[in-house]
Structure formats: C-alpha cells, structure tokens
C-alpha cells in the first residue's frame, strides 16, 4: 500500500503548488476575472473523472474476458472514485455557473449527460451493495458499467454536437498560455490522487472479496 499512499502524497503536493499558482500567481481572465480561477480545479477534476470512467470500463471488459476477480476489485474502486469525482465536478460546476451564467444549474446537454453518468455510476455501486453472490455481482456490474460508459463520448462531444451553454473543452489550444502551468500541475495532482485512491480502494475491495470467498456457504 506504500505505492498508493506515495501517489496520494505526491498528488497533494502537486495540488498545493498548482492551487497556490492558480490562486495567487496566474492573472485574472479578461471577462470572467478571478472567478475563472475555479477552472484550475474544475477542469482537472473533469479530465480525471473521465479517466476514472475509462478505467472502470476497461476493468469491466477485462473481467468479462478473463473472468479474474482482481478486475472486479479494480472495477469497484474505479466506480467509487468516478462517482466521487463526478459529484465533485457537479459541485464545482454549479459554483462556477452561478456568477457566470446566473444560475446554479441548467439542463444543458453537457450538464445533463454528466448528471446521467454520475447517477449511473452511483446506481451500479448501489447494485453491487445489494448482490451478495460475488460472481453475479461482478458480471452484472461489469455489464452495467459498459452500458453506462456509452454516455462518456456523448458527455465529451456534447459541447460540439449541440448548442451548449457550457464552453468548449479546455485544452492547451483553447486556454491562454499564462493559465497553462496551474492547469497542468493540478491535472497531474488530481491524476496522482486518483491513482492513489484507486490503489487503496482496490486493496479494500480485494480484502472483502477474500473474506467472502473464504466464508463457508450456509445450506
């Protein structure tokens, strides 16, 4: 578990530096002013939320093809971290939306598809808590994750496909150069944090699975 904690500590250090740069060094944006500084935590959370969904999708595919329960433990970890990041993403987005759009929430395509995916991952975690048989739990949640992940490209391209209130994807090409450093540092900070969280959470899921498989079946 030392690797997991090392990733978490590295992530925290990067986030502290990136956030300090974003809050006190980077200049305010021309139109959004200081409110734009929310981007330095919101966008890295969004990128890594998508990565967590992709990771969960890969684990689901790997489990169905290899039938190895270690992929189920990773899937559980990925889904929980994706749900956490999705929740955080919606909170940060709402806080940014209020001063820029005038509302906390809008049923805009980007926001709606994100909320659908957040509810889907939450639902799969709920499904996992209801099913006691480890094999059924693994198969059902893998299938449900693959179905839910269909929403991911829709979330990503929603700002291009529809006339969205949400701005286009933030990339080094669409963001001015003075904003690059805090954005990049925080992106790696959240990435390291996510990797550490998933590693530790996988260990917890694997421990529970070992106990379940070791328990004698009641008649």
């Amino acid at each position: 578990m030392r690797k997991g904690y090392a990733f978490i500590l590295s992530g925290v250090a990067l986030l502290l530096f990136g956030s300090w740069t974003g809050l006190f060094v980077a200049p305010p944006e021309k139109f959004m002013g200081d409110v734009q500084r929310i981007m330095y935590v919101h966008v890295p959370t969004a990128w890594n939320w998508m990565l967590a969904i992709l990771f969960s999708f890969s684990c689901a595919i790997a489990f169905l093809f290899r039938n190895n329960m270690k992929w189920d433990s990773r899937l559980e970890a990925g889904l929980e971290v994706a749900t956490l990041f999705g929740f955080l993403l919606c909170c940060q987005g709402a806080i940014w939306a209020k001063p820029t759009w005038g509302v906390w929430w809008d049923w805009d395509p980007r926001l709606t598809t994100t909320a659908v995916l957040l509810l889907a991952t939450l639902g799969i975690l709920a499904l996992r808590s209801f099913v006691e048989d480890p094999m059924k739990r693994a198969v059902w949640s893998s299938v449900a994750t693959i179905i839910a992940a269909v929403d991911l490209p829709i979330v990503y391209f929603s700002v291009k496909w529809w006339n969205s209130l949400h701005q286009e994807q933030s990339t080094p090409q669409t963001v001015s150069s003075p904003f690059h450093l805090p954005l990049r540092v925080n992106a790696f900070g959240v990435l390291f944090l996510m990797i550490g969280f998933i590693m530790v959470r996988t260990r917890i899921a694997a421990n529970r699975l070992e106990r379940e498989l070791a328990e004698p079946e009641l008649a």
Binding site: K30, F31, T45, N207
Partner: protein, 41 residues
C-alpha cells in the same frame, strides 16, 4: 460592474477550492479507516 465583465467573485473561488479540498481529505480519511478495518478482520 462593467458590461460583460465579472468583477469580484472570490467567495465562489474559495467555495470551489474549499469543497474540493474537503471532499479529497474526507475521502482519503475514509479510505485509511476502511483499510485498517479490512486488515484488522
């Protein structure tokens, strides 16, 4: 406020950073507790 330009708004910035820090710290603590419980059983 100038037309089309947002002035102020630091309370929203602190709110976003605060909730981000709180979520990460609380989740990290929950992981440590759950891992200790899992190992202790």
């Amino acid at each position: 406020m100038t037309e089309g330009v947002i002035s102020g708004g630091w309370q929203f910035v602190w709110g976003a950073y605060g909730i981000t820090a709180a979520v990460f710290v609380l989740y990290g603590i929950s992981l440590v507790i759950r891992l200790r419980e899992a190992k202790g059983r």
